[in-house]
């Protein structure tokens, strides 16, 4: 498919989205609740109650410093389609990109041996016009021999995500994403074609609202741990060494149609952890990247705003002139009771001692509340491997009758 421009209908739809976005931002900006600390991306900020401007400015600064990724238009047509924009369908994809960008940012900032340009390269990794790089990627991913190292500048471009989404989940451009889809796609892209200097960031995506220490340790130390050993003790006392850091995503559901109030309380505590790096979530049908909270309100970045696609040269040029389309100047707030129940929580763990502390913090929150909705276990239970067994009993099922479980 050749490059085309948006038609009138598409342009009008973009306008409507942007109008809605601006109205929303305007209405939102007004009511920042006072008298509460702000928890945002692992920071706690205490603010002077009397100075409302100071409060708003501090939040604004943090929000502006976070990479904001939105709908884009006029990018090269997506794989086997006529789509040149993701307006109206790509919000979960964008939120996933934001979460990934934040992880890379956190990772590259924390390591003393990284160069400045590595940090600058993060934005390029998400360029919406990847300058035909996706053709190389398709060729690369269909090759059996992946040993030849390929350097991709834009591994997380929408072209590559859309191609993999079709391949992995039979998802066409224009179809809505579930949070697990985008997280698994980002994991695969990062595992196969990471950007420079991010090779030692290991992604761990947990489906089914669970978290297992042995898997985290396997990823960090790249060795298998015996099931009869005390893992915490090994973390604390042994000479285990690793240069790897972890980006952990825990997919979960905190209610059926509405969030369970008790689970929201637990979520409040998880958002206060210093390892917390945001939530891939939203309100029903609308995905947001939730950065943190003030009392019972969540602060989020909203991808429902349409901008022109940029290629890597344009991103570099914009940076030179100190302007960027990847930073949001509005504060968006949402009452926690309106949050959608499907979400992915994310945590960044830099090293071994952080992993130990993270695990202890999680266990402590679990002990305090019987409503802890994440299943924690040192070792991955056997039944989590869904691939085996039960084929036989399955064949005996008669759909009209009551099913006996043997």
């Amino acid at each position: 498919m050749d490059q085309r421009q948006e038609n009138y209908r598409e342009v009008i739809i973009d306008w409507i989205y942007n109008l809605k976005y601006i109205l929303n931002a305007y209405l939102n900006n007004k009511n920042v609740p006072s008298g509460h600390p702000i928890y945002i991306l692992g920071h706690r900020i205490d603010i002077d109650n009397n100075d409302i401007d100071d409060r708003i400015n501090k939040i604004k600064q943090l929000v502006q410093d976070t990479i904001w990724i939105t709908y884009r238009r006029n990018f090269p047509p997506l794989y086997q389609s006529n789509y040149i924009s993701d307006t109206g369908w790509g919000c979960m994809l964008r939120v996933g990109q934001m979460a990934m960008a934040q992880m890379l940012k956190k990772h590259l900032k924390n390591h003393g041996d990284k160069r400045d340009e590595d940090y600058d390269n993060i934005l390029l990794a998400f360029a919406d016009n990847d300058s035909q790089e996706y053709k190389e990627f398709i060729e690369f991913s269909n090759k059996n021999d992946k040993s030849k190292v390929h350097n991709f500048i834009c591994p997380f471009s929408i072209q590559k995500i859309a191609y993999l989404a079709k391949k992995e989940f039979n998802l066409d451009p224009g179809e809505w994403y579930k949070p697990n889809y985008i997280l698994f796609l980002l994991e695969e892209l990062h595992n196969t074609i990471p950007i420079r200097a991010s090779e030692n960031l290991k992604l761990c995506v947990f489906n089914d609202s669970c978290l297992f220490l042995d898997q985290l340790m396997n990823r960090m130390f790249e060795i298998k741990f015996e099931t009869d050993k005390d893992l915490e003790e090994q973390l604390e006392k042994t000479q285990l060494k690793s240069k790897n850091s972890l980006a952990i995503f825990v997919l979960t559901r905190i209610g059926l149609d509405e969030p369970n109030q008790k689970y929201l309380k637990v979520l409040d505590e998880l958002m206060e952890l210093p390892y917390f790096q945001g939530i891939v979530g939203g309100t029903p049908k609308r995905a947001f990247y939730i950065l943190g909270r003030i009392n019972d309100h969540y602060i989020y970045l909203d991808p429902h705003y349409v901008q022109e696609a940029e290629n890597k040269d344009q991103i570099i040029e914009n940076k030179m002139f100190n302007r960027t389309s990847y930073s949001c100047k509005y504060i968006h707030l949402l009452n926690q009771k309106h949050v959608d129940t499907s979400m992915g929580l994310s945590f960044y763990i830099r090293n071994k001692s952080e992993l130990l502390q993270f695990w202890r913090d999680m266990k402590q929150i679990k002990q305090k509340s019987e409503d802890f909705f994440v299943f924690l276990s040192d070792f991955t239970p056997e039944y989590v491997d869904y691939s085996n067994q039960l084929e036989e009993s399955n064949n005996k099922l008669n759909d009209d009758d009551v099913v006996f479980l043997q």
Binding site: G88, W89, G90, K178, Y386
Partner: protein, 107 residues
């Protein structure tokens, strides 16, 4: 009419009846296209066994997830025991009503 549950209870004292319903919002269906199914499950079983049965009969891949809820909001954990959840949350007709759901989609 004596309740269905009573007749089950007589015949299979060690099992409890579960009525499973897939939420309308999910696209998942059983192979016959239905959204409901009844199960008789051993009280001493853990739910992870039930999760496995469901994943198999719904033919879910590893990258999909299902969530089971009781009382419209309580999440059933795989390590919970069937008998325990049943005695806490059974409805008046004797069935344990469970709603199955997956992740929502966003656009």
């Amino acid at each position: 009419m004596q309740s269905i549950q009573a007749s089950f209870a007589d015949k299979y004292p060690d099992r409890v009846p579960i009525l499973l319903e897939i939420t309308d919002k999910s696209k998942i269906r059983f192979s016959d296209g239905s959204q409901h199914k009844k199960y008789l499950v051993s009280k001493s079983d853990h739910f992870y066994h039930f999760f496995q049965i469901l994943r198999n009969s719904l033919k879910l891949s590893k990258k999909e997830a299902i969530y089971l809820f009781v009382n419209n909001s309580g999440l059933i954990k795989p390590e919970s025991q069937v008998g325990e959840i049943y005695s806490k949350h059974r409805s008046s007709d004797g069935f344990l009503r469970i709603i199955l759901s997956e992740y929502a989609t966003f656009g």
